[in-house]
């Protein structure tokens, strides 16, 4: 049957059809829905699925399952692979028994990430094969086949979808009845599971040999295929990797140009046969891939080793950028410019000599000129500039408890020149005016250590670190232990909204509930902090502003590491029954409620501020109002 599937859902379906038995992951946009979908399918398909505390734990759980012969999957976003890098780099030497597939979602753009690192390059560094799908349908097929590939090579395999695969929906064929006869798992003891320098030296030779084995397998992989004019000798050809293939094909179609295009879905190790076949029949080739020139550098090496007189273009000669996401808009002008470029190119054809399809020319559905890509955008060439458009950055939701927590600490630290170190989650949005309470943000769990480092240089200044509940478990705990061990006088504020909100409300150890919905032990953050040796640990409800400010002031005054757990459920998962109302009689129109809080439910009105429908009645504005003009009411 055919289903409308988001790329991440398609990957989960492919994993099920490929016989996945154990899956683990840590949420991170754009990867999160892979594990979420697997968790929903788990009871029916007899799969074990867990949200692990972080990516390193997830990979190690999957590795253990694979050691015992099970097919295992790990999911994360690109920066999560940094956390899992330690086990990954050596797992490549140890190898796997049951197929082990890492789904590592990359985020060119970036849309919702702190960097644009390219997992294909990481795969090459770790010496592991990587698959790069162009569409959800292909991602599903790659996920399905990756387990067998992993077992064939005895290596973990990385599936690297980008945002425009993960979050693209497509009509995809699904086999509801696919069955995989899973072998009974059993761990067989052997010295090969225990890495020592001697084994590492031996396995490094083996690992290097596997690169060639993988390349040979990829030579006949269905994920590499030649499109466009197949027979004739063409002066120019294109090699496109992953989603870039879509943009190249559409750009050629819009331009009415036909060229041989080698689509590759296996960027590392790059198969030599299909690439050499193309290089031998063209004079020039353009390599199109987002981010790093992973394919391009291998193509250059291949051409050089085989002494082929082909001119290779891409990123190294400035035709394509190494940053950002591609699109038809970005690829089409480059393709046309590259086709028209003459000069050093041996036997280069100019644009008009290229084979054109009858009746098709120009850019964008019949518009004539290649330079018109910019002009084509818009309603017509003579359209005037629109009025200024308001910037609309994402903001903390109306009633978000983080807003109240930030505000409490801001008030308690007034006049103290405090530094607020932030972390990864919805609460990074606390950096925006009027709160301005995120002065740094680096990576998961960094807030507490950055604060401790700042303290070493400016011990008189208050340093307040903010991180979320899920982040606390992910990598916050070691930082807290470090702060206690080395006696850093910092305040760690755990913004405990009882969920992993930013990535779509996944559970975590603080809730006890697992990915598969089983209720287990709830880990208490305050008790954990106390067990780490923190002598000042307090809980507060951020909605009770006065109490929260008092706790914050006490924490700031404490002569040692202090922890405040600001606990209040995320508004996106609770159904509020109240909202705030303004009493126009009492309102002074001082606008403090607007200017202090930046709540998206409060807007300036002609006479006094107005409260809009998205108000959740958190009551923070009522506690800020000097005239008592705001009060809670039942919705």
């Amino acid at each position: 049957m055919r289903m409308l599937l988001m790329g991440n859902g398609a990957i989960a379906r492919g994993a099920v059809e490929g016989g996945v038995q154990v899956a683990a992951g840590y949420p991170g946009t754009p990867s999160s829905e892979v594990l979420g979908t697997l968790a929903a399918l788990a009871p029916d398909k007899n799969i074990y699925v867990e949200w692990s505390v972080n990516e390193k734990a997830a990979l190690e759980v999957a590795a253990g399952a694979s050691y015992a012969g099970a097919r295992a999957m790990v999911t994360m976003k690109q920066v999560g692979l940094n956390v899992a890098a330690d086990p990954l780099m050596t797992l490549a030497y140890i190898g796997v028994k049951g197929g082990l597939v890492l789904v590592v979602a990359d985020d060119p753009g970036p849309h919702s990430s702190q960097n644009e690192q390219d997992t294909r390059k990481f795969a090459a560094f770790a010496k592991l094969p990587v698959l790069d799908p162009a569409t959800p349908a292909e991602a599903k097929e790659m996920a399905r086949q990756a387990f067998a590939l992993s077992e064939q090579l005895a290596l973990p395999v990385i599936l690297r979808p980008v945002t425009r695969v993960c979050h693209v929906c497509q009509d995809v064929a699904v086999d509801e009845n696919a069955a995989f006869a899973a072998p009974a798992g059993r761990f067989e003891k052997s010295p090969d599971w225990t890495i020592f320098p001697g084994l590492a030296a031996k396995k490094h030779v083996w690992l290097n040999r596997q690169q060639e084995a993988a390349r040979q397998l990829f030579n006949s992989s269905p994920f590499n295929a030649l499109y466009g004019s197949k027979d004739e000798l063409s002066p120019a050809g294109v090699i496109a990797c992953g989603v870039s293939f879509n943009y190249v094909q559409e750009a050629l179609q819009l331009s009415g140009i036909s060229l041989p295009v080698l689509k590759t879905g296996t960027p590392y190790p790059l198969p030599d046969e299909p690439v050499l076949a193309l290089l031998r029949r063209v004079d020039r080739v353009l390599v199109v891939e987002e981010l790093e020139p992973v394919v391009e550098e291998q193509v250059i090496r291949l051409a050089w080793r085989h002494g082929l007189p082909v001119r290779i273009s891409g990123k190294h000669d400035g035709f394509l950028p190494r940053e950002g996401e591609f699109s038809v808009d970005r690829v089409q002008p480059v393709l046309l410019a590259w086709l028209c470029a003459d000069g050093a190119a041996k036997g280069a054809a100019s644009g008009p000599e290229l084979p054109r399809k009858e009746g098709e020319a120009g850019v964008h559905r019949g518009q004539p000129d290649p330079a018109g890509v910019e002009a084509a955008a818009g309603i017509s060439a003579s359209t005037p500039e629109p009025p200024p458009l308001p910037v609309r950055p994402p903001v903390l939701c109306a009633g978000c408890p983080h807003r109240a927590s930030f505000y409490a600490f801001k008030k308690a630290a007034e006049g103290k020149d405090a530094v607020f170190t932030g972390d990864i989650g919805c609460y990074t949005l606390g950096n925006a005016p009027p709160l301005n309470t995120v002065d740094t943000c680096l990576c998961m769990g960094a807030s507490v250590n950055i604060a401790a480092g700042l303290y070493r240089v400016e011990p008189e200044r208050p340093h307040v670190a903010f991180l979320g509940d899920s982040t606390f478990f992910h990598t916050g705990l070691p930082g807290l232990i470090n702060a206690v061990y080395n006696n850093a006088r910092i305040v760690l504020v755990v913004l405990d909204n009882r969920t992993t909100a930013m990535t779509g409300h996944q559970p975590h150890p603080g809730l006890g509930r697992t990915a598969m919905g089983v209720q287990g032990k709830e880990l208490d953050i305050a008790r954990l902090a106390a067990a780490c040796g923190v002598e000042f640990v307090r809980r507060a409800d951020p909605y009770d502003l006065e109490a929260a400010i008092n706790v914050a002031a006490e924490a700031l005054a404490f002569p040692g590491p202090a922890v405040v757990v600001m606990r209040r459920e995320c508004v996106a998962v609770t159904k509020s029954t109240s909202r705030c109302l303004i009493d126009p009689e009492k309102c002074l129109n001082c606008r403090l409620c607007i200017e202090e809080l930046g709540c998206p439910a409060i807007f300036p009105g002609p006479e006094h501020p107005e409260i809009k429908g998205q108000c959740n009645g958190c009551g923070l504005c009522a506690q800020v109002c000097p005239a008592g003009a705001l009060e809670e009411a039942v919705k």
Binding site: N246, D329, V391, P394
Partner: protein
Amino acid sequence: MSLDIVITGVGGQGNVLASRILARAAMAAGLAVRTSEAIGMAQREGVVTSQVRMGDPLWGALIPSGGADVLLGFELAETVRGLPRLKPGGVVVASAAVIVPVTAALGLAAYQEEDLRNYLRRNVENLHLVDAGALAEEAGHPRAVNTVMLGALAGLSIMPFDAEHLLRTVLDIVPAKYRGINSRAFELGRRAVGGY
């Protein structure tokens, strides 16, 4: 045939659901389909753009700039922001709803509602401005705006399937207890563009 639709709006308006409904309707009509949606950080009151492509030929999910056949705008300023995505002569179905961003409430940006409305009226040939917020309230729930907009789109008879087909898909997807509201919202949207 093929049809490229861009949906613009603000996080929380049901933009992603509208995109999925269009895609499901296209699929049920036997068409190939791709959608691309902003999921994650953008949802928190930020700009949300969805793209729906249906028919043949179909490569990537991203509609080339200046290539969309239809712009479905859920919010006034976001409709104007989305105009460069529309092809010359393309159709705009826009909600008159205004969501003032926090930046404007704080005085850090301007929201010139009248100017934006006039700009649309003067510069878009095929404009259908719908009071979707009021129609959603009339249908029974302010959050039915996305269904009003889908009704309006269906009322223009430019889709590769008819309005009843789209309505069936809407009712198939929404929870049973909201079918009445969504049915009314769809019909009100359809009538608002003269789709009878």
